[in-house]
């Protein structure tokens, strides 16, 4: 296998998995977060405790879960609890180090929209809604976003705030808010006084201009901008052979 032959999605997934280094308890969301966290557990972080909002703590899934409520999450898990226990004691109790979230729209402060495109009362597109994302964004110590960078996703103002990003008033928000945005074309952080999204890494072949073209506000660029690190042969093998043999996420 040639490690130059990887898709933008695979670049995003392995970068998200690597970002979990040093975390112990990760709250796993549906879709891309699911495959990234499972990759982390199978590569550099076997001790990672995967928490799913369906009520699973310490999941060791034998297959890539089809959803966050897959029965493979139950079998061989450390504990399976009610959703009341999960949200009250694990999440609100402050035990979650990091959570991965995605969304249809994000703004420069990391506010996420997963509810509607257009007006709430007469939506152009009705999206799934919060699920657990709203309270996850508020209670997890750190939030990593994982989503594709494409036109109309990175907007100056989201149509609806489903999950809060960095706000001036942190009262009522015990968690630390968004720290990283991991995409298929670039990586961003919020490590500045204004907590504004900043371009820190770009995929090979991308430029600041090509990224800016799909971002709806004048982008801050890190003075130490560098290339995203490509997947290793081993990471690609786990993704392709173990986690996603049908290529759903390629």
């Amino acid at each position: 296998m040639d490690n130059n032959d990887y898709s933008p999605s695979e670049l995003m997934i392995v970068n998200a998995a690597r970002a979990l280094k040093g975390s112990r308890v990760v709250f796993v969301g549906v879709g891309l977060p699911n495959i990234a966290c499972n990759l982390a557990q199978r590569s550099h972080a076997p001790e990672l405790e995967l928490v799913y909002e369906s009520g699973v703590y310490g999941a060791h899934p034998a297959r890539l879960p089809l959803s966050i409520g897959d029965p493979t999450l139950v079998s061989d898990a450390t504990s399976v609890v009610s959703m009341a226990d999960l949200f009250m004691y694990y999440l609100q109790g402050g035990l979650v180090d990091v959570a991965l979230l995605g969304g249809a729209q994000i703004d420069k402060y990391g506010n996420l929209n997963t509810t509607v495109i257009g007006d709430y009362a007469a939506p152009k597109t009705r999206l799934p809604g919060s699920g657990g994302a709203c309270e996850i964004a508020i209670n997890a110590h750190k939030i990593f976003m994982i989503m594709r960078l494409k036109g109309r996703a990175f907007v100056n103002k989201v149509d609806f705030v489903t999950s809060p990003g960095h706000t001036a008033d942190r009262a009522g928000i015990p968690g630390g808010g968004p720290q990283l945005v991991i995409t298929d074309r670039a990586l961003f952080d919020f490590a500045n006084e204004e907590h504004e999204m900043t371009l820190i890494e770009i995929a090979p072949g991308e430029t600041v201009d090509s990224i800016q073209a799909d971002v709806g506000w004048p982008l801050r660029v890190s003075p130490t901008l560098r290339d995203m690190t490509p997947p290793t042969v081993d990471e690609l093998r786990i993704v392709r052979e173990e986690l996603d043999p049908t290529g759903l996420y390629r």
Partner: protein
């Protein structure tokens, strides 16, 4: 199963048609719960067949089950927290109802997952509201004025609160119960216990009915006591195409097919005609599905060890 001691003499044991006609009225607030697992499609299909109207459907994740009910025109309103085909994509019928009013408009009342769990807890424990750390700096309270903030009487901050909910009837699927409705469930516990205590009437639907002594040998596994159960319906594979831990896996093909087929109201209605109106009950649905299809859903075995509760005579 009917030979089991107590089964035939328990007035709670009935078939699905009887349970639905007895406990679901036009305009009822109905909760068919279960998070990804234990979703009682058998109950939903019978509600559709009986032509119930103007229902308020309560469920954290509407899933295919409410997509089908909305397409069939039984619902006026939906209370929920995540509107998706889990692991697949969108729920096209609900979107069609919300965006275009087809086959009829659908009113939405939405919360987050924790908010819905909190509503069930408040409903079950007769509290006026449930406080939670959520909703701060979001647009959800604007979309739903029942999400409010209260001043913390012991501090300087504010806390979000959600109102209790007490559905008229809940349909809750599980692995097994006795004839009195003492229900054991393992796997994703979801919110099944909270809903059972919150709902005014509870219909338990099980893969198997078992003798009372099976239940009492493992009391920690009894999630719902018969005390709050009004009916027990035995309906093997009643949660297909969702799953029951240890009994059958999710029929993911059905979830993927629904994603394609449900994009159009006409093809959705053809599906409902074939699989819901066109079959008299769950037994015929399963025959139509076929033994081979069901056999592909069988999981391997992974048994827990028994524990010693001790005998203290």
């Amino acid at each position: 199963m009917n030979e089991l001691a107590g089964t035939s003499s328990s007035p709670k044991v009935m078939d699905m048609a009887t349970a639905v006609s007895r406990f679901v009225a036009g305009g009822s607030v109905v909760a068919i719960e279960g998070f990804t697992a234990f979703i009682c499609f058998a109950a939903a299909h019978e509600i559709i067949r009986q032509g119930k109207k103007d229902l308020t459907l309560v469920r954290m994740t509407p899933d295919l089950v409410y997509d089908q009910m909305v397409a069939a025109g039984v619902a006026r309103k939906m209370v929920f927290s995540y509107l998706g085909n889990p692991g697949v994509g969108n729920l096209h019928c609900i979107r069609r109802a919300v965006e275009k009013g087809i086959p009829q408009p659908l009113e939405l009342e939405e919360y987050s997952h924790f908010g819905m769990v909190g509503r069930y807890i408040a409903g079950a424990s007769k509290l006026p509201f449930f406080p939670l750390r959520s909703y701060t700096a979001t647009d959800l309270p604007k979309a739903n004025p029942d999400i409010k903030f209260l001043h913390n009487p012991y501090g300087e901050d504010e806390i979000a609160v959600v109102p209790p909910i007490n559905p008229d009837v809940a349909f809750l699927h599980a692995q097994r119960a006795d004839a009195q409705g003492n229900t054991q469930l393992w796997g994703l516990l979801g919110m099944q216990k909270e809903v059972a205590f919150a709902a005014k009437k509870v219909v338990i639907v099980v893969e198997e009915i078992v003798a009372e002594d099976i239940i009492r040998r493992d009391p920690n596994r009894t999630l719902i006591p018969g005390l709050v159960v009004d009916a027990v319906v035995v309906e093997p594979y009643g949660a297909h195409p969702s799953y029951v831990q240890g009994y059958y896996d999710r029929d993911n093909t059905a979830y993927l097919e629904w994603d394609k087929m449900s994009r159009d109201q006409a093809s959705t209605e053809a599906w409902l005609q074939e699989w819901v109106y066109g079959v008299p009950d769950r037994g015929v649905y399963l025959e139509k599905l076929g033994k081979e299809r069901l056999a592909t859903l069988a999981p391997g075995e992974l048994w827990a060890d028994g524990v010693n509760y001790g005998r203290y005579a």
